[in-house]
Symmetry: C2
Subunit: 353 residues, 2 copies
């Protein structure tokens, strides 16, 4: 049997399978260790269930692609495990995010704090336990990276990337939370938050991690960043649209959460900017109402359409998507890597979930 070539491997389905089996292996070992040490089984089991009910593995995939881009050869087991550790970091971010947003469902299932609340019929327990399980997922993600089997040189190169990723995404989350109570038309601020909260976190840093593991090549890194940042923007803008206009059956998230929470999105900033005084007053009254009904959500959606905010957001997505693809035109990357990066750009911006 001949060794598979890079071309054979650069099939996203097979990469996802390898990432998932690394996660499954790491979490099984943790579950066994908990049993052996008489530690509680709930944290690792709930984290494992959450990992495997869904998730697109975007960040691990980007990391492996960063490796391929810089090295142009098959990824190794340690690279797959290091990449997969990003999914556990993402699990941490989602668990805490859902606690902060009081969300009931995620990936079409109850959120972790809801699951834990049900275990003990106590919302207080659910919330506290979910804070701890988020913390645990973060600790797991660091341990999975540290024990991935990387060389000392690879680990030394990886740690600053992961450190920067963490601190930046938490800053982005904080900026998001700290957005003014009042809805504003401050599009610029919304776009800065997107940069930190999503673009760098979801696309740029994972690609950078892969490049760092391969041995940094500045030209490759620059090309990938030029692709990553606009693509990450477009991904979040699509997410914002889906949060308001998406079908809960395919998004896995309730249709009213973003509006009830009053998320300060670029979409809303655009609506505020182009709304007439009546529309502006209606948006200010309804967005962020914790008891918002579907009827009122319809009113908001109509305003988002009538002010052109929805169409303008689609345009922004398109502009950023094209910018990402243009960056690939000039990129010194193997053709099969370019193909997959094109495919992912399409998936992330046109996705329905």
């Amino acid at each position: 049997m001949s060794a598979p070539t890079l071309e054979d491997r650069l099939d996203l389905h097979s990469l996802r399978r390898r990432i998932d089996s690394a996660l499954e292996h790491y979490l099984s070992v943790k579950a066994l260790a908990a049993q052996a040490d008489h530690l509680p089984s709930v944290p690792v089991e709930v984290i494992r269930n959450f990992v495997f009910v869904g998730g697109k593995r975007i960040r691990p995939l980007m990391c492996v692609l960063g490796w391929h881009a810089a090295r142009g050869q098959d990824e190794t087991g340690p690279v797959i495990r290091a990449a997969a550790s990003l999914e556990l970091f993402h699990v941490f971010a989602l668990i805490h995010d859902d606690v902060m947003d009081h969300s009931d469902t995620r990936r079409g299932h109850p959120t972790v704090h809801r699951t834990l609340a049900a275990l003990r019929a106590s919302d207080t327990f659910g919330q506290s336990a979910a804070i701890l399980l988020g913390d645990m997922a973060l600790a797991y993600s660091q341990e999975m990276l540290n024990t991935a089997g990387l060389s000392a040189g690879q680990l030394t190169a990886a740690l600053p990337v992961v450190d920067a990723m963490r601190i930046e995404v938490i800053n982005g989350q904080y900026m998001d939370l700290d957005s003014s109570k009042e809805l504003t038309d401050d599009l610029q601020r919304a776009l800065v938050v997107i940069r930190y909260k999503t673009a760098k976190y979801t696309v740029e840093h994972p690609l950078r991690l892969g490049v760092a593991l391969a041995g940094t090549t500045p030209a490759v890194q620059a090309a990938l960043s030029a692709y990553a940042l606009p693509l990450g923007d477009a991904f979040q803008l699509r997410d914002d649209l889906l949060g308001v206009f998406g079908d809960p059956k395919t998004t896995g998230k309730p249709a009213l959460d973003d509006l009830r929470e009053g998320k300060r999105t670029a979409l809303l900033a655009l609506a505020l900017r182009h709304a007439d005084p009546d529309q502006r007053a209606t948006l200010r009254r309804l967005v962020g109402d914790r008891d918002l009904k579907e009827e009122q959500a319809k009113t908001i959606r109509t305003i988002l359409i009538e002010t052109g905010a929805r169409a303008r957001t689609e345009e922004l997505i398109d502009t950023q998507y094209r910018a990402a693809l243009r960056a690939l035109d000039r990129a010194p990357l193997p053709p099969c890597v370019l193909d997959v990066l094109h495919e992912l750009a399409h998936t992330l911006t046109e996705r329905t979930r």
Copy 2:
């Protein structure tokens, strides 16, 4: 000017100063970076204030002592910085702990979530922002360790210790949270929780980290663990006593928090075990009552005294304190290190705050 000798340095005040100046330096650089990058200043400022309003720096001190024990020579800057990173981890743990316990004060000042709630006159904001600031402190602690200037060998030795410490303390916290709703006389369980939540976290792992940085010597490690675990138990048992009988002016924590929260301590397990049916019923009724008044707390304190639970806890502290000291009798450590470990054992078990 001649270089200071180990004897000169092994003054806890001067060690604490070096640890604090490492923390101050790291956090100042983060504050400047936030300013330069137009990132929010609140997370780093609130974390910095919290670090410097108090704290005994037990974990960093233990780490430096672990180094001295194994190496028998002056600690270096990288060792101080690695040790200090444990304090940022502790800040993470305290911030999340206070959110979960709904505590209003810590170290004699408003807790982080109360401080943040006041900034925006919103409890919801305070809670969410504190979850993020805890996450940030954890990310900082890892970055501070990674950038401490350790050699590749030291870092490789340090990471597994820190990984184990994190995962064990979060497991301990989860076990604590998951204790049965009903008060029980299960002393054994209370002691297991103490092991994970405090003894390993506060004493054993920090000492182990110092030994790992020095180049592991199994005999030293074994001696230090034999000292660390009973001392850590005694430290937590003292904390439990102070949580009920301590003076808020010196503990910095409100006198009723532990009782209102219904913390399942060894002290309460001992009381349940030796209570008559009336006392047992009274404890079950009052402990965990969120609206507990000082008058009712007095009733509980009386029962804790009358059942002998307080005296038995003092005995347990004494037993564990003596076990810790006995471990030092046989320990192959430099005399000046032994002196300081004796001093710390005394401070941690007799402390009033």
